[in-house]
């Protein structure tokens, strides 16, 4: 009967899948498996390459600008203009400052080179993203780990403190901080933002630690006389790494959107410095006259955030042991035909 046949086909296909997986995973370490799974996720790999390219391009073009306005630390990039230069305006048929070979992104109404501005904005946004991810990641991991490992009153205090930070909406904190400390330079802003963005991660890590600390390998380590620090960092943390990496990636994407949003409403990076958000805010009204002033910063924000999100998705798939990769019909046929004896034996 037709239904039976279908079931049979389904059965053999699950077995085929299992066969393929077993054969592929034989003799590989956890790290190798994860790496292989990640590199199979094509969008994630493409995004990783794109993000690295964007990063190198932006930082080499714009250079690196750290420190405050009064005490800047600057490394010049290869692009010939800076954000304060005002070269002569180029004229086109019907508009001023349109994109040309010498000004690939055009010029803004004052005459500043827009490529330099956008690269500087992207530099600031990426910088904020990285610093927030670093600080938020470290803080969230440590607080979550300590809280989940020691439980009891340590957990109670740390989790109430986390609740307490969560109460304050991130945009409020961001706005108060950005408005007060925006002029201290972008790194200061990023550090303050990072100090308030670890809460979600801390909760996740705590949950992971609560379940991992009950496992046999932790007992074994304890019996062998390992110290708390050693158990936390050498035994449990590597097992919780998946959750942490995925969550930090998503935090990065959130951070770049938060920074640009803050700069857009004027609470983030302050003039004369620029950010992708402040550029959009400044030139959104000239959308009809010179749309390139509006499109480029947005395209860069979307590009960076999209890449980071895809990498996060690839990492999540790679770290999730239940997630199976989709096996193509061709591979399946190959596996089913190669092992017919096995198939009949198992029935």
């Amino acid at each position: 009967m037709a239904k039976d046949k279908k079931n049979e086909a389904a059965n053999s296909s699950t077995e085929g899948e299992n066969q393929i997986e077993l054969r592929e995973t034989a003799g590989l370490s956890q790290g190798q498996l994860i790496r292989r799974k990640f590199f199979r996720h094509k969008p994630a790999v493409a995004s990783l390459i794109a993000l690295i390219f964007i990063g190198i391009f932006v930082f080499s073009a714009s250079g690196i600008h750290l420190g405050t306005e009064k005490a800047p630390i600057t490394v010049q990039g290869w692009w010939k203009y800076t954000i304060t230069d005002i070269p002569d305006s180029t004229f086109c048929k019907d508009s001023v400052g349109c994109p040309t070979w010498s000004h690939p992104f055009g010029q803004d109404p004052i005459g500043r080179d827009y490529f330099a501005l956008v690269m500087r904005g992207a530099e600031q946004s990426i910088m904020v993203m990285l610093v927030v991810g670093l600080i938020g990641g470290i803080l969230g991991t440590i607080i979550g780990a300590v809280s989940g490992y020691f439980r009891g009153w340590v957990d109670a205090i740390l989790m109430r403190f986390t609740d307490f930070i969560i109460t304050i909406p991130s945009i409020i904190i961001g706005a108060v901080i950005g408005f007060k400390f925006g002029n201290l330079g972008v790194v200061a802003l990023a550090i303050y933002l990072g100090l308030f963005s670890w809460t979600g991660l801390a909760r996740l890590v705590r949950g992971e630690f609560l379940s991992l600390r009950e496992r046999e390998f932790v007992d074994a380590a304890r019996v062998a006389g390992a110290s708390h620090t050693r158990i936390i960092f050498k035994h449990i943390l590597p097992n919780a790494m998946g959750v942490i990496i995925v969550s930090v990636t998503l935090m990065l994407a959130g951070a770049i959107l938060l920074e640009t949003a803050l700069s857009y409403i004027g609470f983030g990076v302050q003039a004369p410095d620029v950010s992708l958000g402040s550029l959009i805010s400044d030139y959104q009204d000239s959308f009809t006259v010179s749309p390139w002033l509006f499109y480029w910063p947005g395209v860069l924000i979307i590009g960076i955030a999209l890449c980071v999100n895809f990498i996060g998705d690839g990492l999540r798939d790679a770290f999730d042991p239940r997630q199976r990769r989709q096996i193509s019909r061709k591979e399946l046929l190959k596996a089913t035909f190669r092992t017919p004896t096995n198939d009949s034996k198992s029935k």
């Binding site: 969008p43 109430r160 609740d163 307490f164 930070i165 969560i166 109460t167 304050i168 909406p169 945009i171 409020i172 706005a175 108060v176 408005f179 007060k180 994407a253 959107l257 640009t260 949003a261 857009y264 409403i265 004027g266 609470f267 958000g277 959009i280 805010s281 959104q284 959308f287 009809t288 509006f294 910063p297 947005g298 924000i301 979307i302 955030a305 999209l306 999100n309 895809f310 998705d313 239940r322 989709q326």
Partner: protein, 513 residues
């Protein structure tokens, strides 16, 4: 249970006290509210400074002044909350109570729309995992995750408002646009339905031709200027919806429920003209607006009871959902009939989609439907922008959650018992998959009051977000604290409600340890 809730509320109050104390002092010490006055050259400068100091008690140091503010807030227990005055001497309570309805109008629709659409798409992509549709929707949801709302808003203003209004001048779709739209719709329909290459081409062709015919009909009937569904459109759509809902909720093999649901559709058609006559009355009361919808719901329950003898619960559910959709269709049809009158009224002049504000100032009409339409077109663009942004989260969460549930043993058991795939998904998988989403929803609904700071500023709405923004930039401590008190209260309450809901929906989780 009660003890648990009491303990949680106690902790919540302590947390709120702590965080408000910190925010109060952080804000108070980081800026000087008198800075502007000190540098001003007004003759009565000293008097103004003294006056503001007296009004806002600036002579008291902030760590102590906070308790003054707290006393006012605690007045809420006796019914007289006092959140202090703004810098301009207005009562903060009044400012906030004026802003909240505006914000709710802005955000509520978008939140509901995002939840409904997001969960629907998420569920479909989970059922068809690794299909072309799944990949397409995954990409689209990631793209939306990465969109900055202020950027989208400007694009929406340009293309959905200004260009659309220009286009409405003629209301005729030109041939290149027609072909472009048909190709686009063809590609997306063919992308959604997978199959062999021949089938895909066939579907593409079908979608292309039907789109062209539909758009041609729109041109011929001048539908964009004089839209409407008519009794035929409402009838066909309701019938389709009633059968579809019955198929999902109880399955097509349950003829009695399908018939009951179709009865609701027939009743809708029968009542079409009376309801429209009632709704066209000069002074439409709220009761007259809502009565036909209630009547349809009552009819639906009666039909379900009359047609079925067993399992009446799910029959009633089916017909009531059908009747809600039928009422919505009637409302949409009535709104479409208003469109022509609205775009030709004074102050609109064929440019109906606004980019800014909450009402058309120049529109003066006492017609209920015209004013409703005015409110609708103003909320349209912000709603689209907000929905685009928050829709992606729901797609990802509901997809992930359903996929996880589908791997569970009890789903295998249900299938092994021989239940149909519909029952397995609707009754066994979906209900359990929605439990984790309640948390997300609770937070989103709490966030509704907090508003959308950026959306409000882009579209010129004066809600909570605008208040908050101006409070920060003008060092208005009392105003900031007022907004903060409301939003943070909503956030912690949402946290509590989410935990309680979770334990109510999933008996395995107990709230009190």
């Amino acid at each position: 249970m009660l003890a648990y809730i009491a303990r949680r509320i106690g902790i919540v109050l302590l947390i709120l006290f702590g965080s408000s104390y910190i925010v109060y002092n952080l804000e108070a010490f980081s800026g000087d509210p008198l800075a502007e006055l000190r540098t001003s050259s007004a003759k009565n400068r000293d008097f103004l400074i003294a006056q503001m100091t007296r009004e806002l008690h600036l002579d008291v140091p902030p760590p102590i002044r906070y308790f003054d503010w707290l006393r006012g807030v605690l007045g809420v227990l006796t019914g007289h909350a006092d959140l202090g005055k703004t810098r301009d001497g207005l009562l903060v309570v009044n400012e906030i109570s004026a802003a909240i309805p505006v914000t709710i109008r802005l955000v509520l629709g978008a939140t509901i729309l995002a939840i409904v659409l997001g969960i629907t798409v998420g569920v479909i992509t989970a059922i068809r995992q690794y299909s072309r549709l799944d990949y397409t929707m995954t990409f689209i949801s990631f793209l939306m995750f990465s969109l900055p709302i202020f950027w989208v808003a400007v694009l929406l203003k340009q293309y959905m408002a200004i260009e659309f209004n220009n286009f409405l001048g003629s209301g005729q779709i030109t041939v290149p646009w027609m072909i472009g739209a048909a190709i686009l719709i063809g590609i997306s329909v063919a992308g959604i339905i997978s199959g062999s290459r021949r089938r895909v081409w066939f579907i593409f062709g079908g979608a292309f031709v039907s789109t062209v015919i539909l758009l041609w009909l729109v041109n011929v009937t001048d539908w964009l200027l004089k839209p409407g569904l008519g009794i035929v459109g409402v009838g066909l759509l309701t019938a389709g919806i009633s059968v579809g809902i019955a198929a999902i909720v109880v399955g097509m093999e349950n003829r009695r429920v399908v018939l009951a649901s179709l009865t609701v559709a027939i009743a809708t058609v029968a009542l079409y003209f009376p309801i429209n006559a009632l709704w066209s009355a000069k002074h439409l009361s709220f009761l007259a607006l809502i009565a036909p919808m209630l009547l349809l719901v009552v009819l639906a329950i009666v039909a379900a009871v009359a047609f079925t003898k067993v399992d009446r619960g799910s029959a009633i559910r089916t017909t009531v959902i059908t009747s809600v959709f039928a009422s919505l269709l009637l409302l949409i049809d009535r709104m479409m009939n208003t469109w022509s009158g609205y775009i030709h009224s004074d102050g609109i002049d064929l440019r109906p989609i606004p980019t800014y504000g909450t009402v058309s100032v120049r529109l003066s009409s006492d017609n209920f439907w015209i004013n409703l339409m005015d409110g609708f077109v103003h909320v349209l663009l912000p709603t689209i922008a907000l929905t685009l942004i928050s829709f992606a989260g729901y797609v990802r969460y509901s997809r992930g959650s359903l996929l996880e549930v589908m791997n569970m043993d009890y789903i295998r058991t249900a299938r092994a018992k021989g239940l149909s795939e519909r029952v397995v998904i609707v009754r066994h998988a979906l209900r359990n998959a929605m439990i984790p989403l309640t948390t997300l929803m609770a937070f989103d609904f709490a966030g509704v009051i907090g508003g959308a700071i950026i959306t409000e500023s882009v579209f010129g709405w004066h809600g909570m977000g605008t208040l908050f923004r101006s409070a920060i930039s003008s060092q208005d401590l009392n105003l900031l604290m007022g907004v903060f008190a409301i939003t943070s209260f909503m956030a912690v309450m949402a946290n509590l409600v989410a935990d309680l809901l979770y334990s109510a929906l999933d008996p395995r989780i107990r709230v009190s340890k």
